[in-house]
């Protein structure tokens, strides 16, 4: 019916918009913690830097050797050029290890005031009180706080920062470290293995099912700093857990690099849900490697909300190694402003009767780029396996982009596979309809966008999805009304 209507709500990217994005971050995240680091390595990356940090951590020789070997692999690999432009990244000007504190606390009262204030502002202790079984908080390179409720400790659950785990449970760490994601996997994985620090370690004994989630919160603090946390999750047979990861940082004009590794072991009939909500500031380059091994009848669920960062490259993977193993990968990404969101999923069906489901939703606006990059393989012999991939992109204006690069290899004849993709804009008929019921244009657009994301948003914990809602509303308000 919009015969004479001009769709003129596209705008050129202006300084105002960039200011708006900043303003949004300032509301909650854009503040710096004033701490003098207890220790930090010199700028740049060398054997000496790694030996310094390994010494500071007082870690075993075998770990130092893993690091030094990974450094060689890192140096031998080129910076990936198949995705976003990473030319800004200069590995010599980053600081790889910044330890903010001398001790780690198990009680918020023991956390130094400045750092506690930081996590108070982010709402972390509050979330812990309200709905978590345990919580780890990391500032810069190290965990500053970790706690698991006693009832779970008593059942043998272990949840702590990774450095402590290396000290207290070296055998479990050594057995599992670097097997799911070897340093040779990609350049960022090699880098992480060389300079990893912090992250969380979660071990659930056989048959233990946590009915409340545990959460790790990662906070970066400066410019030209690197955060390379290492997370290891082991769910023994029949265990189940929901792990939540939150990430924020203050805004700087210079970039910082975040490159984590997450390794998840889902053993027979175990279930792990990994929810990640990153709201990095728009100077962060984010390239984590996340992967799970899923054994017989096990289930791995990846839920990802990608709100912030300047560049993100994340492709959570599941290797379905046992019969009847299954995985789902739900991903929602906002690519609004001068950002590049390169998100996706990787699934390998390596056993019969395995199943996987990938749903990716993206929104591009204000010159943003959203990419879905997926890899799906069904090996020969993975009889009767089932896989589906659905990726939907919503593009808000004429200066923004979305691309889809699905890479599917179906090598098993009895397997079934479906792939659906859509790219669209907000329909003006929908906006008109909502307006005819008294809803302002900006609100109408927010409702439509949130509806588009609903499949995935409803899987994100309430505290974070509320944030998502607010952010989408704010972004849509910036588009203003057609008038």
């Amino acid at each position: 019916m919009n015969i004479t209507k001009e769709v003129n709500w596209t705008q050129k990217l202006s300084e105002n918009d960039v200011e708006e994005v900043k303003r949004l971050n300032e509301i909650k995240y854009d503040f710096t913690t004033n701490v003098k680091p207890a220790f930090q390595t010199q700028k740049g990356l060398s054997r000496e830097v790694i030996e310094d940090m390994s010494r500071d951590k007082k870690e075993p020789e075998w770990m130092k050797n893993i690091r030094l070997k990974a450094l060689e692999i890192f140096l031998s690999k080129p910076v990936p050029t198949w995705g976003p432009d990473l030319s800004e990244l200069n590995f010599d000007e980053l600081t790889y290890y910044i330890r903010p504190e001398d001790r780690k606390a198990n009680n918020w009262e023991e956390v130094p005031k400045e750092i506690k204030d930081t996590f108070d502002k982010l709402g972390v202790p509050e979330m812990e009180k309200k709905y978590l079984a345990g919580s780890v908080a990391q500032l810069q390179s190290e965990g500053v706080y970790s706690r698991l409720k006693k009832q779970w400790e008593d059942k043998g659950v272990i949840f702590m920062d990774m450095d402590s785990a290396l000290k207290l449970h070296p055998d479990i760490v050594r057995e599992h470290f670097g097997r799911v994601v070897p340093p040779s996997d990609n350049k960022f994985a090699a880098l992480n293995t060389a300079v990893w620090s912090g992250g969380s370690f979660l071990y659930i004994p056989r048959g233990v099912q946590l009915d409340l989630p545990v959460q790790a919160y990662f906070r970066m603090n400066g410019a030209l700093e690197g955060q390379f946390e290492r997370t290891l999750i082991i769910a023994e047979p029949g265990a189940s857990v929901h792990y939540i990861e939150g990430c924020t940082a203050p805004t700087y004009s210079q970039y910082s690099l975040h490159a984590a590794i997450v390794e998840v072991y889902v053993k027979n009939s175990a279930k792990v849900r990994y929810t990640s909500v990153q709201n990095w500031s728009d100077n962060i380059i984010n390239g984590p490697t996340k992967r799970s091994w899923v054994e017989e009848n096990g289930r791995m669920e990846w839920v990802q909300g990608s709100l912030g960062s300047k560049i993100t490259m994340t492709y959570p993977s599941s290797i379905l190694r046992g019969e009847y193993a299954s995985t789902s990968n739900l991903n929602v990404a906002l690519g609004i402003g001068p950002v590049w969101k390169d998100n996706g999923a990787k699934v390998v069906h390596a056993a019969p009767n395995t199943s996987s489901k990938v749903v990716a939703k993206s929104i591009s606006g204000k010159g943003g780029m959203s990419v879905y990059r997926g890899q799906l393989r069904i090996n020969q012999g993975a009889y009767n396996s089932k896989a589906s991939v659905q990726c939907d992109a919503l593009i808000l204006d004429d200066i923004s982009k979305s691309n889809t690069y699905p890479h599917n290899e179906i090598l098993e004849e009895s397997a079934s596979f479906s792939h659906e993709a859509s790219v669209g804009k907000i329909s003006e008929e929908q906006v008109d309809y909502l307006m005819s019921r008294g809803i302002r244009e900006e609100d109408a657009r927010s409702l439509i966008v949130l509806g588009f994301l609903d499949d995935v948003l409803k899987e994100i914990p309430l505290e974070y999805s509320i944030e998502f809602n607010k952010l989408v509303k704010l972004e849509m308000n910036k588009y203003g009304a057609v008038g």
Binding site: M1, I3, L434, S436, L447, F452
Partner: protein, 255 residues
Amino acid sequence: MVPNVLSIKNLNVSVNDKVILKDVSITVKSGEIHALMGPNGTGKSTLAHTIIGTARYKINNGQLYLNDQNLLDLQVYERARAGLFVAFQEPVSVQGLRFINYLRTAYTSLHPDEKLEYKKFVEEVKELLAFFGLDSTFTDRGLNDGLSGGEKKRMEALQMLILRPKFIILDEIDSGLDIDALRVVSKAIGKAKENGAGIIIITHYQRILDYIKPDFVHVLINGRIAESGSGDLAKTIEERGYEYYKGGELDAKVE
């Protein structure tokens, strides 16, 4: 109580340089039911869209007032807030936008001074769903998502009741409804009238008028009101057909 008045005066509207509505005038007061009848393609839907402002057609001439408020100065959402409601002929669907969330947003937009009790609101909506013979889980479904034509029409009628507008324009609400649905929708229109709304029923057929007796009937032929009269006019039209009005300057395709 002073009745509200919706006044359409000498409205002249064109689409792509073609004049679609010519000199249309209708005045509706609170509690009145007007039927706007006419063959297909004669400008009935154009009138509905022009009144609510969703069509953005070119208005060459004429006035549109709700009491002393000039609607032509207002944006679509402001006209809704002034008290207008259109039940659309082809309601759009919005995937993932849960009906109850949408409806709550609409309600609080239209009645900002009321404190909405959410639980009560949901109960009320569920009762109305039952009244219309619709499944109570429709509250959590995406707006009109996957609904049949008839279900969508009943959902429009439901909104008409819950949002309590001053003036209601029903654009072919009767198309796609079976006899039971038609009966219940007619009942709902009766309720809206009792609540004091002024109503324009746009229809091609006389069928719905067997269930609701209009106070006034207008016949729109080729964009012009060819005849206005009391409720009985509908019967006359049924007897002699729209063919009766053919001729003169009428060049529209008349069924």
